[in-house]
Amino acid sequence: MPGSIPASVSSASPLAYPRSRAWGRLRDGARGLPVVPVTILGVALLAALFADWLAPHDPVLGNLRHRHRPPAWLAGGDAGHLLGTDHLGRDVLSRLLFGARISLLVGFTAAVVAGALGTAVGIISGYYGRWVDQIIMRVVDAWLALPAISFAIFLAVLLGPSEMNIVIILAGIFWTRYARVIRGEVLSLKERDYVRLAIVAGCSKWTIMRRHILPNVINTSIVLSSLIVGVVIVAEAALSFLGVGVPPPKPAWGLMLADGKEGMMAGYWWVTLFPGLAIMLVVLAANLLGDWLRVKLDPQLRQL
Protein backbone atom coordinates (compact mmCIF):
# COMPACT_ATOMS: atom_id res chain seq x y z
CA MET A 1 0.00 0.00 0.00
CA PRO A 2 1.28 3.47 -0.85
CA GLY A 3 1.24 4.73 2.75
CA SER A 4 3.78 2.22 4.07
CA ILE A 5 6.54 2.74 1.52
CA PRO A 6 8.37 5.72 3.10
CA ALA A 7 8.21 4.07 6.54
CA SER A 8 9.85 0.86 5.32
CA VAL A 9 12.63 2.86 3.69
CA SER A 10 13.46 4.63 6.93
CA SER A 11 13.52 1.39 8.95
CA ALA A 12 16.03 -0.09 6.49
CA SER A 13 18.66 2.09 8.13
CA PRO A 14 20.40 0.09 10.90
CA LEU A 15 20.50 3.10 13.20
CA ALA A 16 16.74 3.29 13.22
CA TYR A 17 16.33 -0.25 14.49
CA PRO A 18 16.46 -0.04 18.31
CA ARG A 19 14.09 2.84 18.81
CA SER A 20 11.70 1.73 16.13
CA ARG A 21 10.45 -1.43 17.80
CA ALA A 22 7.27 0.11 19.17
CA TRP A 23 6.92 2.19 16.08
CA GLY A 24 7.44 -0.93 13.98
CA ARG A 25 4.73 -2.79 15.80
CA LEU A 26 2.39 0.11 15.26
CA ARG A 27 3.38 0.19 11.62
CA ASP A 28 2.73 -3.52 11.20
CA GLY A 29 -0.73 -3.06 12.64
CA ALA A 30 -1.40 -0.26 10.20
CA ARG A 31 0.14 -2.01 7.22
CA GLY A 32 -2.17 -1.88 4.26
CA LEU A 33 -4.52 0.44 6.11
CA PRO A 34 -6.70 1.75 3.31
CA VAL A 35 -5.76 5.35 2.61
CA VAL A 36 -9.09 6.69 1.36
CA PRO A 37 -11.38 5.72 4.26
CA VAL A 38 -8.79 6.58 6.90
CA THR A 39 -8.30 10.02 5.37
CA ILE A 40 -12.04 10.70 5.18
CA LEU A 41 -12.67 9.54 8.74
CA GLY A 42 -9.59 11.44 9.93
CA VAL A 43 -10.85 14.67 8.41
CA ALA A 44 -14.32 14.12 9.87
CA LEU A 45 -12.80 13.40 13.27
CA LEU A 46 -10.66 16.53 13.15
CA ALA A 47 -13.71 18.56 12.16
CA ALA A 48 -15.65 17.08 15.05
CA LEU A 49 -12.88 17.70 17.60
CA PHE A 50 -11.85 21.18 16.53
CA ALA A 51 -15.13 22.58 15.16
CA ASP A 52 -14.94 25.40 17.71
CA TRP A 53 -11.69 26.66 16.20
CA LEU A 54 -12.19 25.65 12.58
CA ALA A 55 -15.68 27.01 12.02
CA PRO A 56 -15.63 30.55 10.68
CA HIS A 57 -19.10 31.38 12.06
CA ASP A 58 -21.52 30.39 14.77
CA PRO A 59 -23.37 27.26 13.58
CA VAL A 60 -26.72 28.26 15.08
CA LEU A 61 -26.85 32.05 14.82
CA GLY A 62 -27.52 33.30 11.32
CA ASN A 63 -27.52 36.70 9.74
CA LEU A 64 -30.84 37.21 7.97
CA ARG A 65 -29.31 39.79 5.66
CA HIS A 66 -26.97 37.08 4.32
CA ARG A 67 -29.64 34.52 3.39
CA HIS A 68 -29.01 32.01 0.62
CA ARG A 69 -25.54 33.23 -0.29
CA PRO A 70 -24.06 30.84 -2.87
CA PRO A 71 -20.66 29.17 -2.31
CA ALA A 72 -17.70 31.54 -2.52
CA TRP A 73 -16.57 30.51 -6.02
CA LEU A 74 -19.92 31.35 -7.63
CA ALA A 75 -21.24 34.74 -8.73
CA GLY A 76 -22.64 36.57 -5.70
CA GLY A 77 -20.58 34.37 -3.39
CA ASP A 78 -18.94 35.75 -0.27
CA ALA A 79 -15.42 34.73 0.78
CA GLY A 80 -16.63 34.69 4.39
CA HIS A 81 -19.10 31.91 3.58
CA LEU A 82 -17.04 29.33 1.71
CA LEU A 83 -19.93 26.89 1.15
CA GLY A 84 -22.68 29.51 1.17
CA THR A 85 -25.46 30.13 3.67
CA ASP A 86 -28.91 28.62 4.29
CA HIS A 87 -32.39 30.13 4.51
CA LEU A 88 -31.62 31.74 7.88
CA GLY A 89 -28.25 33.07 6.78
CA ARG A 90 -26.32 30.44 8.74
CA ASP A 91 -22.93 29.44 7.39
CA VAL A 92 -23.15 26.00 5.75
CA LEU A 93 -19.47 25.16 6.32
CA SER A 94 -19.69 25.94 10.05
CA ARG A 95 -22.83 23.85 10.42
CA LEU A 96 -21.16 21.04 8.49
CA LEU A 97 -18.15 21.06 10.85
CA PHE A 98 -20.28 21.06 13.99
CA GLY A 99 -22.57 18.47 12.37
CA ALA A 100 -19.61 16.08 12.13
CA ARG A 101 -19.49 16.16 15.92
CA ILE A 102 -23.14 15.08 16.25
CA SER A 103 -22.99 12.44 13.51
CA LEU A 104 -19.78 10.82 14.70
CA LEU A 105 -20.69 11.00 18.38
CA VAL A 106 -24.16 9.54 17.90
CA GLY A 107 -22.98 7.02 15.31
CA PHE A 108 -20.03 5.67 17.24
CA THR A 109 -21.70 5.68 20.65
CA ALA A 110 -24.76 3.88 19.33
CA ALA A 111 -22.64 1.30 17.49
CA VAL A 112 -20.47 0.69 20.58
CA VAL A 113 -23.42 0.42 22.96
CA ALA A 114 -25.26 -1.87 20.54
CA GLY A 115 -22.08 -3.90 20.12
CA ALA A 116 -21.47 -4.30 23.84
CA LEU A 117 -25.08 -5.23 24.53
CA GLY A 118 -25.41 -7.53 21.51
CA THR A 119 -22.11 -9.28 22.20
CA ALA A 120 -22.98 -9.86 25.85
CA VAL A 121 -26.43 -11.18 25.01
CA GLY A 122 -25.06 -13.30 22.17
CA ILE A 123 -22.45 -14.89 24.44
CA ILE A 124 -24.97 -15.62 27.18
CA SER A 125 -27.50 -16.99 24.70
CA GLY A 126 -24.97 -19.20 22.94
CA TYR A 127 -23.19 -20.40 26.04
CA TYR A 128 -26.16 -21.17 28.27
CA GLY A 129 -28.17 -22.70 25.43
CA ARG A 130 -31.46 -24.48 26.17
CA TRP A 131 -34.35 -22.28 27.30
CA VAL A 132 -32.24 -19.16 27.88
CA ASP A 133 -31.12 -19.37 24.26
CA GLN A 134 -34.66 -20.10 23.07
CA ILE A 135 -36.13 -17.07 24.82
CA ILE A 136 -33.38 -14.69 23.77
CA MET A 137 -33.36 -15.84 20.17
CA ARG A 138 -37.13 -15.57 19.84
CA VAL A 139 -36.91 -11.96 21.08
CA VAL A 140 -34.07 -11.30 18.63
CA ASP A 141 -36.10 -12.83 15.78
CA ALA A 142 -39.13 -10.72 16.58
CA TRP A 143 -37.10 -7.51 16.87
CA LEU A 144 -35.21 -8.22 13.67
CA ALA A 145 -38.55 -8.54 11.91
CA LEU A 146 -39.45 -4.93 12.68
CA PRO A 147 -38.31 -2.69 9.82
CA ALA A 148 -35.49 -0.73 11.50
CA ILE A 149 -36.49 2.74 10.39
CA SER A 150 -40.18 2.50 11.34
CA PHE A 151 -39.30 0.88 14.68
CA ALA A 152 -36.84 3.74 15.28
CA ILE A 153 -39.51 6.31 14.45
CA PHE A 154 -41.96 4.59 16.77
CA LEU A 155 -39.46 4.71 19.65
CA ALA A 156 -38.45 8.28 18.80
CA VAL A 157 -42.07 9.41 18.97
CA LEU A 158 -42.37 7.70 22.36
CA LEU A 159 -39.15 9.07 23.84
CA GLY A 160 -38.99 12.49 22.24
CA PRO A 161 -36.15 14.10 20.32
CA SER A 162 -32.63 14.35 21.78
CA GLU A 163 -29.18 12.98 20.96
CA MET A 164 -29.22 10.76 24.04
CA ASN A 165 -32.55 9.24 23.07
CA ILE A 166 -31.32 8.55 19.55
CA VAL A 167 -28.33 6.66 20.91
CA ILE A 168 -30.66 4.62 23.15
CA ILE A 169 -33.08 3.95 20.30
CA LEU A 170 -30.49 2.97 17.71
CA ALA A 171 -28.55 0.82 20.19
CA GLY A 172 -31.86 -0.76 21.22
CA ILE A 173 -32.55 -1.68 17.61
CA PHE A 174 -29.16 -2.74 16.31
CA TRP A 175 -27.92 -4.95 19.19
CA THR A 176 -29.99 -7.79 17.73
CA ARG A 177 -27.72 -7.97 14.67
CA TYR A 178 -24.69 -8.57 16.86
CA ALA A 179 -26.49 -11.03 19.11
CA ARG A 180 -27.44 -13.24 16.15
CA VAL A 181 -23.93 -13.51 14.72
CA ILE A 182 -22.07 -13.76 18.05
CA ARG A 183 -24.39 -16.47 19.33
CA GLY A 184 -23.64 -18.52 16.22
CA GLU A 185 -19.92 -18.22 16.86
CA VAL A 186 -20.26 -19.11 20.53
CA LEU A 187 -22.16 -22.30 19.64
CA SER A 188 -19.08 -23.62 17.88
CA LEU A 189 -16.55 -22.09 20.30
CA LYS A 190 -18.03 -23.78 23.34
CA GLU A 191 -17.32 -27.22 21.86
CA ARG A 192 -13.58 -26.44 21.65
CA ASP A 193 -11.15 -28.32 23.82
CA TYR A 194 -9.89 -25.32 25.75
CA VAL A 195 -13.40 -24.48 26.88
CA ARG A 196 -14.01 -28.07 27.96
CA LEU A 197 -10.71 -28.09 29.81
CA ALA A 198 -11.67 -24.87 31.55
CA ILE A 199 -14.89 -26.51 32.68
CA VAL A 200 -12.97 -29.52 33.96
CA ALA A 201 -10.55 -27.17 35.74
CA GLY A 202 -13.53 -25.79 37.62
CA CYS A 203 -13.86 -22.36 36.07
CA SER A 204 -17.20 -20.72 36.65
CA LYS A 205 -19.47 -20.02 33.69
CA TRP A 206 -18.82 -16.32 34.13
CA THR A 207 -15.04 -16.84 33.97
CA ILE A 208 -15.30 -19.04 30.90
CA MET A 209 -17.49 -16.55 29.07
CA ARG A 210 -15.24 -13.65 30.00
CA ARG A 211 -11.80 -15.25 29.67
CA HIS A 212 -12.26 -17.89 27.00
CA ILE A 213 -15.23 -16.95 24.85
CA LEU A 214 -15.19 -13.14 24.75
CA PRO A 215 -11.61 -12.76 23.41
CA ASN A 216 -12.53 -15.09 20.56
CA VAL A 217 -15.60 -13.21 19.43
CA ILE A 218 -14.30 -9.68 19.93
CA ASN A 219 -12.91 -9.50 16.38
CA THR A 220 -16.31 -10.32 14.96
CA SER A 221 -17.86 -7.59 17.09
CA ILE A 222 -15.35 -5.05 15.85
CA VAL A 223 -15.98 -5.96 12.22
CA LEU A 224 -19.75 -5.82 12.72
CA SER A 225 -19.41 -2.44 14.47
CA SER A 226 -17.54 -0.93 11.58
CA LEU A 227 -20.31 -2.03 9.25
CA ILE A 228 -23.09 -0.90 11.58
CA VAL A 229 -21.62 2.57 12.21
CA GLY A 230 -22.56 3.52 8.64
CA VAL A 231 -26.10 2.22 9.03
CA VAL A 232 -26.48 4.07 12.33
CA ILE A 233 -25.22 7.38 10.92
CA VAL A 234 -27.72 7.17 8.05
CA ALA A 235 -30.48 6.22 10.50
CA GLU A 236 -29.69 9.23 12.69
CA ALA A 237 -29.73 11.50 9.64
CA ALA A 238 -33.07 10.03 8.54
CA LEU A 239 -34.61 10.52 12.00
CA SER A 240 -33.34 14.10 12.18
CA PHE A 241 -34.58 14.72 8.64
CA LEU A 242 -38.05 13.54 9.67
CA GLY A 243 -38.03 15.77 12.74
CA VAL A 244 -37.81 13.05 15.41
CA GLY A 245 -34.04 12.98 15.77
CA VAL A 246 -31.71 15.73 16.88
CA PRO A 247 -33.86 18.74 17.76
CA PRO A 248 -33.39 21.96 15.75
CA PRO A 249 -31.63 24.37 15.56
CA LYS A 250 -28.65 22.07 16.21
CA PRO A 251 -26.47 21.55 13.13
CA ALA A 252 -27.12 17.84 12.49
CA TRP A 253 -26.57 16.80 8.88
CA GLY A 254 -30.03 15.27 8.61
CA LEU A 255 -31.59 18.51 9.87
CA MET A 256 -29.57 20.51 7.36
CA LEU A 257 -31.02 18.37 4.57
CA ALA A 258 -34.52 19.00 5.88
CA ASP A 259 -33.81 22.76 6.09
CA GLY A 260 -32.42 22.82 2.58
CA LYS A 261 -35.40 21.12 0.96
CA GLU A 262 -37.60 24.20 0.51
CA GLY A 263 -34.77 26.35 -0.78
CA MET A 264 -33.66 23.68 -3.23
CA MET A 265 -36.92 24.10 -5.14
CA ALA A 266 -35.89 27.71 -5.69
CA GLY A 267 -32.43 26.68 -6.86
CA TYR A 268 -30.39 26.97 -3.64
CA TRP A 269 -28.79 23.56 -4.14
CA TRP A 270 -25.74 24.06 -1.94
CA VAL A 271 -27.66 23.83 1.33
CA THR A 272 -28.71 20.29 0.31
CA LEU A 273 -25.64 19.09 -1.55
CA PHE A 274 -22.94 19.45 1.10
CA PRO A 275 -24.51 17.77 4.16
CA GLY A 276 -25.58 14.80 2.02
CA LEU A 277 -22.10 14.56 0.57
CA ALA A 278 -20.69 14.58 4.10
CA ILE A 279 -23.01 11.75 5.19
CA MET A 280 -22.19 9.74 2.09
CA LEU A 281 -18.43 10.13 2.44
CA VAL A 282 -18.40 9.16 6.12
CA VAL A 283 -20.64 6.15 5.51
CA LEU A 284 -18.56 5.16 2.48
CA ALA A 285 -15.41 5.39 4.56
CA ALA A 286 -16.95 3.31 7.36
CA ASN A 287 -18.03 0.66 4.85
CA LEU A 288 -14.61 0.53 3.19
CA LEU A 289 -12.87 0.31 6.54
CA GLY A 290 -15.33 -2.41 7.56
CA ASP A 291 -14.53 -4.42 4.44
CA TRP A 292 -10.83 -4.07 5.11
CA LEU A 293 -11.19 -5.06 8.77
CA ARG A 294 -13.33 -8.04 7.80
CA VAL A 295 -10.64 -9.44 5.55
CA LYS A 296 -7.89 -8.59 8.01
CA LEU A 297 -9.45 -9.76 11.27
CA ASP A 298 -11.85 -12.47 10.32
CA PRO A 299 -11.64 -14.19 6.96
CA GLN A 300 -14.54 -16.44 7.91
CA LEU A 301 -16.85 -13.43 7.91
CA ARG A 302 -16.39 -12.73 4.22
CA GLN A 303 -19.75 -14.25 3.48
CA LEU A 304 -21.54 -11.86 5.78
Binding site: A142, A145, F241, L242, L257, K261, G276, V283
Partner: protein, 306 residues
Protein backbone atom coordinates in the same frame (compact mmCIF):
# COMPACT_ATOMS: atom_id res chain seq x y z
CA UNK B 1 -42.70 -31.50 5.36
CA UNK B 2 -45.91 -30.96 7.35
CA UNK B 3 -43.90 -31.18 10.54
CA UNK B 4 -41.46 -28.59 9.24
CA UNK B 5 -44.23 -26.20 8.19
CA UNK B 6 -45.99 -26.56 11.53
CA UNK B 7 -42.76 -25.89 13.40
CA UNK B 8 -41.99 -22.81 11.34
CA UNK B 9 -45.55 -21.51 11.73
CA UNK B 10 -45.23 -22.03 15.48
CA UNK B 11 -42.01 -20.00 15.58
CA UNK B 12 -43.61 -17.26 13.50
CA UNK B 13 -46.51 -17.12 15.95
CA UNK B 14 -44.06 -16.79 18.85
CA UNK B 15 -42.36 -13.92 16.99
CA UNK B 16 -45.74 -12.25 16.45
CA UNK B 17 -46.54 -12.64 20.14
CA UNK B 18 -43.22 -11.07 21.21
CA UNK B 19 -43.71 -8.30 18.66
CA UNK B 20 -47.11 -7.39 20.04
CA UNK B 21 -45.89 -7.58 23.65
CA UNK B 22 -42.89 -5.37 22.78
CA UNK B 23 -45.04 -2.68 21.25
CA UNK B 24 -47.65 -2.94 24.00
CA UNK B 25 -45.10 -2.73 26.83
CA UNK B 26 -42.98 0.01 25.24
CA UNK B 27 -46.00 2.27 24.90
CA UNK B 28 -46.87 1.82 28.56
CA UNK B 29 -43.30 2.00 29.90
CA UNK B 30 -42.47 5.27 28.21
CA UNK B 31 -45.41 7.17 29.56
CA UNK B 32 -49.14 7.43 29.90
CA UNK B 33 -50.81 6.53 26.58
CA UNK B 34 -53.55 8.99 27.47
CA UNK B 35 -51.09 11.88 27.13
CA UNK B 36 -50.00 10.51 23.75
CA UNK B 37 -53.58 10.29 22.63
CA UNK B 38 -54.81 13.60 23.98
CA UNK B 39 -54.08 17.04 22.63
CA UNK B 40 -51.09 18.67 24.39
CA UNK B 41 -53.35 21.23 26.07
CA UNK B 42 -55.77 18.61 27.47
CA UNK B 43 -56.96 18.99 31.06
CA UNK B 44 -56.59 16.28 33.72
CA UNK B 45 -60.31 15.51 33.45
CA UNK B 46 -59.97 14.93 29.71
CA UNK B 47 -57.05 12.58 30.32
CA UNK B 48 -59.08 10.66 32.90
CA UNK B 49 -61.96 10.32 30.43
CA UNK B 50 -59.58 8.99 27.76
CA UNK B 51 -58.10 6.50 30.22
CA UNK B 52 -61.52 5.09 31.06
CA UNK B 53 -62.57 5.09 27.41
CA UNK B 54 -59.45 3.13 26.41
CA UNK B 55 -59.64 0.81 29.36
CA UNK B 56 -56.32 2.09 30.72
CA UNK B 57 -57.71 1.87 34.25
CA UNK B 58 -57.69 -1.92 33.98
CA UNK B 59 -54.73 -4.27 34.58
CA UNK B 60 -52.04 -4.81 31.93
CA UNK B 61 -52.97 -8.41 30.99
CA UNK B 62 -56.60 -7.39 30.48
CA UNK B 63 -55.45 -4.45 28.37
CA UNK B 64 -53.14 -6.69 26.35
CA UNK B 65 -55.91 -9.17 25.55
CA UNK B 66 -58.06 -6.24 24.51
CA UNK B 67 -55.25 -4.86 22.31
CA UNK B 68 -54.55 -8.18 20.56
CA UNK B 69 -58.23 -9.02 20.26
CA UNK B 70 -58.80 -5.71 18.50
CA UNK B 71 -55.80 -6.16 16.21
CA UNK B 72 -56.97 -9.64 15.20
CA UNK B 73 -60.34 -8.23 14.22
CA UNK B 74 -58.56 -5.53 12.21
CA UNK B 75 -59.27 -2.85 14.79
CA UNK B 76 -56.11 -0.82 15.46
CA UNK B 77 -57.75 2.11 17.14
CA UNK B 78 -58.98 5.38 15.70
CA UNK B 79 -56.72 7.92 14.06
CA UNK B 80 -56.68 11.06 16.18
CA UNK B 81 -56.20 13.34 13.22
CA UNK B 82 -58.44 11.82 10.56
CA UNK B 83 -61.03 10.48 13.01
CA UNK B 84 -61.32 7.20 11.08
CA UNK B 85 -60.05 3.72 11.98
CA UNK B 86 -56.25 3.55 11.64
CA UNK B 87 -56.59 0.15 9.93
CA UNK B 88 -58.66 1.53 7.06
CA UNK B 89 -56.17 4.38 6.56
CA UNK B 90 -53.46 1.76 6.27
CA UNK B 91 -55.28 -0.32 3.64
CA UNK B 92 -56.07 2.87 1.74
CA UNK B 93 -52.41 3.82 1.50
CA UNK B 94 -50.98 0.34 0.87
CA UNK B 95 -51.59 0.25 -2.93
CA UNK B 96 -49.44 3.35 -3.44
CA UNK B 97 -46.62 1.73 -1.45
CA UNK B 98 -46.98 -1.49 -3.42
CA UNK B 99 -46.78 0.40 -6.71
CA UNK B 100 -43.67 2.28 -5.64
CA UNK B 101 -42.02 -0.89 -4.35
CA UNK B 102 -42.88 -2.81 -7.52
CA UNK B 103 -41.31 -0.18 -9.78
CA UNK B 104 -38.27 0.20 -7.51
CA UNK B 105 -37.85 -3.59 -7.41
CA UNK B 106 -38.01 -3.81 -11.21
CA UNK B 107 -35.31 -1.13 -11.52
CA UNK B 108 -33.10 -2.76 -8.90
CA UNK B 109 -33.40 -6.20 -10.52
CA UNK B 110 -32.80 -5.03 -14.08
CA UNK B 111 -29.77 -2.93 -13.13
CA UNK B 112 -28.52 -5.24 -10.36
CA UNK B 113 -28.71 -8.42 -12.44
CA UNK B 114 -27.19 -7.00 -15.61
CA UNK B 115 -24.30 -5.19 -13.95
CA UNK B 116 -23.78 -8.10 -11.54
CA UNK B 117 -23.51 -10.58 -14.42
CA UNK B 118 -21.24 -8.31 -16.44
CA UNK B 119 -19.01 -7.96 -13.38
CA UNK B 120 -18.89 -11.71 -12.79
CA UNK B 121 -18.12 -12.52 -16.43
CA UNK B 122 -15.40 -9.87 -16.56
CA UNK B 123 -14.12 -10.48 -13.05
CA UNK B 124 -11.07 -8.37 -12.20
CA UNK B 125 -11.52 -6.16 -15.22
CA UNK B 126 -13.00 -2.74 -15.88
CA UNK B 127 -16.66 -3.77 -15.63
CA UNK B 128 -15.99 -5.44 -12.30
CA UNK B 129 -14.38 -2.35 -10.80
CA UNK B 130 -17.16 -0.14 -12.12
CA UNK B 131 -19.73 -2.48 -10.61
CA UNK B 132 -17.94 -2.46 -7.25
CA UNK B 133 -17.86 1.34 -7.25
CA UNK B 134 -21.57 1.61 -8.11
CA UNK B 135 -22.43 -0.93 -5.41
CA UNK B 136 -20.37 0.94 -2.84
CA UNK B 137 -22.00 4.26 -3.72
CA UNK B 138 -25.44 2.68 -3.66
CA UNK B 139 -24.86 1.22 -0.22
CA UNK B 140 -23.47 4.49 1.20
CA UNK B 141 -25.80 7.09 -0.30
CA UNK B 142 -28.78 7.93 1.91
CA UNK B 143 -31.93 7.37 -0.17
CA UNK B 144 -33.45 10.70 0.80
CA UNK B 145 -30.38 12.63 -0.31
CA UNK B 146 -30.38 10.77 -3.63
CA UNK B 147 -34.06 11.74 -3.89
CA UNK B 148 -33.32 15.41 -3.21
CA UNK B 149 -30.55 15.44 -5.83
CA UNK B 150 -32.88 13.83 -8.37
CA UNK B 151 -35.53 16.46 -7.64
CA UNK B 152 -33.02 19.25 -8.13
CA UNK B 153 -31.65 17.87 -11.37
CA UNK B 154 -34.72 16.46 -13.14
CA UNK B 155 -37.48 18.66 -11.74
CA UNK B 156 -35.99 22.01 -10.75
CA UNK B 157 -33.15 22.24 -13.29
CA UNK B 158 -34.36 20.29 -16.34
CA UNK B 159 -38.14 20.50 -15.69
CA UNK B 160 -38.53 16.97 -17.01
CA UNK B 161 -40.35 15.33 -14.12
CA UNK B 162 -42.86 16.47 -11.51
CA UNK B 163 -41.30 17.18 -8.10
CA UNK B 164 -43.76 15.25 -5.97
CA UNK B 165 -47.14 13.62 -5.59
CA UNK B 166 -48.72 10.64 -7.31
CA UNK B 167 -50.71 10.56 -10.51
CA UNK B 168 -49.07 9.96 -13.85
CA UNK B 169 -46.36 7.43 -14.63
CA UNK B 170 -43.81 10.26 -14.55
CA UNK B 171 -44.50 10.76 -10.84
CA UNK B 172 -43.22 7.34 -9.85
CA UNK B 173 -39.85 7.54 -11.66
CA UNK B 174 -37.80 9.56 -9.16
CA UNK B 175 -39.10 8.05 -5.91
CA UNK B 176 -38.58 4.58 -7.38
CA UNK B 177 -34.99 5.35 -8.36
CA UNK B 178 -34.27 6.86 -4.95
CA UNK B 179 -35.79 3.87 -3.17
CA UNK B 180 -34.05 1.33 -5.40
CA UNK B 181 -30.50 2.67 -4.85
CA UNK B 182 -29.55 0.59 -1.83
CA UNK B 183 -31.32 -2.52 -3.10
CA UNK B 184 -29.77 -2.27 -6.56
CA UNK B 185 -26.36 -2.37 -4.91
CA UNK B 186 -27.33 -5.35 -2.76
CA UNK B 187 -28.74 -7.29 -5.73
CA UNK B 188 -25.69 -6.44 -7.81
CA UNK B 189 -23.31 -7.79 -5.17
CA UNK B 190 -25.26 -10.99 -4.66
CA UNK B 191 -25.66 -11.59 -8.41
CA UNK B 192 -21.92 -11.21 -8.88
CA UNK B 193 -20.93 -13.61 -6.11
CA UNK B 194 -23.66 -16.09 -7.01
CA UNK B 195 -22.62 -16.04 -10.68
CA UNK B 196 -18.98 -16.56 -9.69
CA UNK B 197 -19.97 -19.59 -7.59
CA UNK B 198 -21.94 -21.12 -10.43
CA UNK B 199 -19.31 -20.36 -13.08
CA UNK B 200 -16.78 -22.33 -11.02
CA UNK B 201 -19.06 -25.37 -10.74
CA UNK B 202 -18.61 -28.74 -12.42
CA UNK B 203 -21.67 -28.59 -14.62
CA UNK B 204 -20.64 -25.28 -16.16
CA UNK B 205 -17.20 -26.75 -16.88
CA UNK B 206 -18.89 -29.74 -18.47
CA UNK B 207 -21.16 -27.55 -20.57
CA UNK B 208 -18.08 -25.71 -21.82
CA UNK B 209 -16.26 -29.01 -22.47
CA UNK B 210 -19.21 -30.18 -24.54
CA UNK B 211 -18.38 -27.25 -26.79
CA UNK B 212 -21.51 -25.23 -26.15
CA UNK B 213 -21.25 -21.59 -27.19
CA UNK B 214 -20.26 -19.35 -24.25
CA UNK B 215 -23.44 -17.27 -24.45
CA UNK B 216 -25.53 -20.45 -24.21
CA UNK B 217 -23.53 -21.66 -21.20
CA UNK B 218 -24.03 -18.32 -19.49
CA UNK B 219 -27.75 -18.04 -20.13
CA UNK B 220 -28.93 -21.64 -19.94
CA UNK B 221 -26.61 -23.11 -17.33
CA UNK B 222 -25.11 -20.36 -15.21
CA UNK B 223 -27.70 -17.60 -15.06
CA UNK B 224 -30.67 -19.82 -14.30
CA UNK B 225 -29.00 -21.28 -11.25
CA UNK B 226 -27.39 -18.07 -10.10
CA UNK B 227 -30.81 -16.45 -10.09
CA UNK B 228 -32.24 -18.50 -7.19
CA UNK B 229 -30.51 -16.75 -4.27
CA UNK B 230 -31.01 -13.33 -5.87
CA UNK B 231 -34.74 -13.89 -6.28
CA UNK B 232 -34.99 -15.09 -2.67
CA UNK B 233 -33.33 -11.92 -1.45
CA UNK B 234 -35.50 -9.86 -3.78
CA UNK B 235 -38.62 -11.41 -2.27
CA UNK B 236 -37.63 -10.32 1.23
CA UNK B 237 -36.41 -6.96 -0.06
CA UNK B 238 -39.76 -6.26 -1.72
CA UNK B 239 -41.40 -6.44 1.69
CA UNK B 240 -38.64 -4.28 3.17
CA UNK B 241 -39.06 -1.71 0.38
CA UNK B 242 -42.71 -1.32 1.29
CA UNK B 243 -41.76 -0.71 4.90
CA UNK B 244 -38.61 1.41 4.73
CA UNK B 245 -39.84 3.95 2.19
CA UNK B 246 -40.75 6.43 4.94
CA UNK B 247 -38.09 8.96 4.08
CA UNK B 248 -38.36 8.63 0.31
CA UNK B 249 -42.14 8.89 0.45
CA UNK B 250 -41.81 11.98 2.64
CA UNK B 251 -39.37 13.64 0.24
CA UNK B 252 -41.65 13.03 -2.76
CA UNK B 253 -45.00 13.41 -0.94
CA UNK B 254 -45.86 9.91 -2.18
CA UNK B 255 -49.09 8.90 -0.44
CA UNK B 256 -48.01 5.41 0.74
CA UNK B 257 -47.76 3.92 4.22
CA UNK B 258 -44.39 5.60 4.77
CA UNK B 259 -45.99 8.97 4.25
CA UNK B 260 -48.79 7.84 6.57
CA UNK B 261 -46.17 7.09 9.21
CA UNK B 262 -44.67 10.54 8.73
CA UNK B 263 -48.06 12.19 9.08
CA UNK B 264 -48.52 10.10 12.18
CA UNK B 265 -45.34 11.69 13.59
CA UNK B 266 -46.29 15.22 12.57
CA UNK B 267 -49.79 15.11 14.04
CA UNK B 268 -48.70 13.00 17.04
CA UNK B 269 -51.25 10.51 15.73
CA UNK B 270 -50.16 7.62 17.87
CA UNK B 271 -52.60 4.88 16.77
CA UNK B 272 -51.44 5.39 13.17
CA UNK B 273 -47.74 5.12 14.05
CA UNK B 274 -48.42 1.97 16.07
CA UNK B 275 -50.44 0.40 13.25
CA UNK B 276 -47.78 1.01 10.61
CA UNK B 277 -45.02 -0.41 12.82
CA UNK B 278 -47.01 -3.45 13.94
CA UNK B 279 -48.23 -4.37 10.45
CA UNK B 280 -44.71 -3.82 9.05
CA UNK B 281 -43.40 -6.41 11.51
CA UNK B 282 -46.24 -8.81 10.64
CA UNK B 283 -45.45 -8.43 6.94
CA UNK B 284 -41.75 -9.19 7.42
CA UNK B 285 -42.46 -12.24 9.60
CA UNK B 286 -44.90 -13.55 6.99
CA UNK B 287 -42.34 -13.01 4.22
CA UNK B 288 -39.61 -14.83 6.16
CA UNK B 289 -41.98 -17.71 6.86
CA UNK B 290 -42.91 -18.00 3.17
CA UNK B 291 -39.25 -18.02 2.11
CA UNK B 292 -38.39 -20.65 4.73
CA UNK B 293 -41.18 -22.93 3.55
CA UNK B 294 -40.41 -22.42 -0.15
CA UNK B 295 -36.77 -23.21 0.50
CA UNK B 296 -37.61 -26.38 2.36
CA UNK B 297 -39.90 -27.38 -0.49
CA UNK B 298 -37.14 -26.84 -3.07
CA UNK B 299 -34.32 -28.29 -0.97
CA UNK B 300 -35.32 -31.30 1.20
CA UNK B 301 -32.07 -31.12 3.21
CA UNK B 302 -33.36 -28.03 5.03
CA UNK B 303 -36.47 -29.88 6.28
CA UNK B 304 -34.33 -32.39 8.16
CA UNK B 305 -32.09 -29.85 9.83
CA UNK B 306 -32.05 -29.87 13.65
Amino acid sequence: MTRFILKRCGLALVSLFILSVTIFVLIRLTGDPATLLAAPEAKEADLEAIRVQLGLDRSWPVQYVHFVGGALRGDFGTSLYYRVPAGSLYWQRLPASLQLAAVAMTISLVVGLSVGILAAVNVGRWWDSAGKLIALLGLSMPSFWLGLLLIYFFAVYLHWLPTSGRGTAAHVVMPAIALSGYFTAAHMRLTRSSMLDVLGSEYVKLARLKGLPESWVLIKHAFKNALIPVLTLAGINLVLMINVAVVVETVFAWPGIGRLLYEGIEFRDFPVVQTVVLLGGVMVIAANLTVDILYAWIDPRIRLER
